[in-house]
């Protein structure tokens, strides 16, 4: 990890950005792809040209790909399997008499 004080190396090529698009007001931004761009403003402009030519969006986020921290596939079991035996977290675990109706 580089510290905040160290100078970032000068870019040699256009870095990779991840693009998120909100398809309409009221919905979340959703990942839709990636692209190379020299800086954030250019990334936004290119994302608009590439991913929203048919009114697919009303708002765009771009994030440098290297800023994303992802969980490792090797940890999949450890992270997500424990939830499998906690079926009492689901509403269907509970039996309610039919005469109660929808609950």
């Amino acid at each position: 990890m580089s510290t905040a004080a160290s100078t970032p190396a000068a870019l040699k090529e256009w870095p990779l950005w991840e693009v998120f698009v909100r398809s309409k007001q009221g919905l979340e931004h959703k990942h839709c792809g990636s692209l190379h761009a020299s800086d954030a403003r250019q990334a936004l402009e290119m994302a608009r040209d590439v991913y929203t030519r048919r009114q697919e969006g009303v708002s765009i986020w771009v994030v440098p790909s290297k800023s994303i921290t992802a969980s490792s596939p090797d940890d999949k079991g450890e992270l997500f399997d424990p939830a499998a035996d906690k079926i009492y977290r689901h509403p269907t675990f509970y039996e309610i008499p039919e005469e109660v109706g929808h609950m």
Binding site: T7, P8, A10, L11, K12, E13, W14, L16, C32, G33, S34, L35, H36, A37, S38, D39, Q42, D49, V50, R53, R54, A70, S72, P73
Partner: protein
């Protein structure tokens, strides 16, 4: 557009695909196979056998190259489109192809190759792209026929790829297929308009169909009996439907469309086979096809030269944007200090 549903061996910015190594860790290999067998999806960070990775890099990059080289034959007609409407449509289509190239290069990059290396492989002639673009677009009807038949063939190829086992490739194909339908319909409609015109216009359409029909059938790749790589692709869920089955689907779908349009498909052996429930068709000239794939088609040199020139002419833009970004970064750092 555009893929040929086979994967020609090339040097797509990487070493040749080796047969499955015996040294792949058996435990991981078993997990991978189980995922494929269960029709699961593989994502970039997941473990995958080296041969799977290399096959995908080759296929996705060939597909990406085909998209951006595919901009060239149609791009030739932007300045000569017969009306402002057709010009706007054609610009939109060619821009889409550039976008499709980008989706696919991005998908290839998730496999650990760099965009620069892939483009180098294209520009130095080491990588292949769909051979359909090595034929010239001689008249305006060619633009319509490319939309109707070439994009039509590409759609047949690409729809099953939306279910490809490699997640990023499948997702890119979903996006591409959504846009592709416009490409085919605009082409067919442009031809319908010409077929309502003068005899000379009708002749242009027939001429374009005559020149492109067989090339489009060849786009689906060699017959199943001659494509040994297909089996592995099927096993891995990269390929879902065989070359011959896709080709048959395309023929069956196209014959009625040709009838409505009022053109003849240039194949005397083309006829309905009641027993098979499909159209029979004649022999494809595979020698001519392989000659073109191997660099001896009518436009191979011209296409590559145009592509390289465009890349070189744009170099200053890429460099200027980079210099500006670096300058801004330095400025921000100074202000922060």
């Amino acid at each position: 557009m555009y893929t040929q549903s086979f994967n020609v061996p090339d040097e797509s910015g990487q070493k040749q695909v080796k047969p499955m190594k015996a040294s792949e860790p058996p435990e991981r290999m078993a997990k991978f196979d189980a995922c494929i067998d269960a029709d699961g999806r593989i994502e970039p960070q997941d473990w995958m056998p080296e041969a799977y990775r290399k096959t995908l890099v080759r296929q996705i990059s060939q597909h990406a190259h085909s998209e951006i080289v595919g901009m060239l034959p149609e791009g030739n007609w932007i300045s000569r489109a017969p009306s402002l409407k057709r010009k706007a449509i054609l610009i939109a289509k060619v821009q889409d192809e550039g976008g499709h190239g980008l989706y696919l290069y991005s998908a290839a990059e998730t496999l650990g190759v760099s965009r620069g290396d892939l483009l180098d492989a294209l520009h130095t002639g080491k990588a292949k792209y769909s051979s359909i673009f090595n034929y010239p677009t001689l008249n305006w009807a060619d633009v319509g026929v490319i939309g109707w038949l070439v994009d039509g063939a590409a759609i047949m190829n690409q729809i099953p790829l939306c279910r490809c086992s490699y997640g990023p490739y499948a997702r890119a194909m979903v996006r591409v297929c959504k846009e592709e339908s416009f490409h085919q319909r605009q082409g067919y409609e442009a031809l319908l308009v010409m077929m309502r015109g003068t005899q000379a216009q009708k002749d242009m359409v027939q001429d374009a169909v005559n020149r492109y029909w067989w090339k489009c059938l060849a786009m689906f790749g060699p017959p199943d009996a001659d494509s040994p790589n297909s089996t592995q692709g099927m096993r891995w869920g990269i390929k879902r439907i065989s070359n011959d089955d896709l080709r048959q689907k395309f023929v069956d779908a196209t014959v009625p469309q040709a009838k409505v349009l009022g053109v003849t498909l240039p194949d005397p052996d083309l006829k309905w086979n009641e027993e098979r429930g499909h159209y029979d068709y004649g022999q494809i000239d595979w020698d001519e096809f392989w000659k073109t794939v191997n660099g001896h088609g009518p436009c191979n040199k011209e296409r590559l030269a145009t592509r390289v020139k465009a890349h070189n002419d744009g170099a200053w833009v890429r460099e200027a944007a980079l210099a500006y970004a670096n300058k801004q970064q330095q400025r921000t750092l100074k202000e922060a200090a």
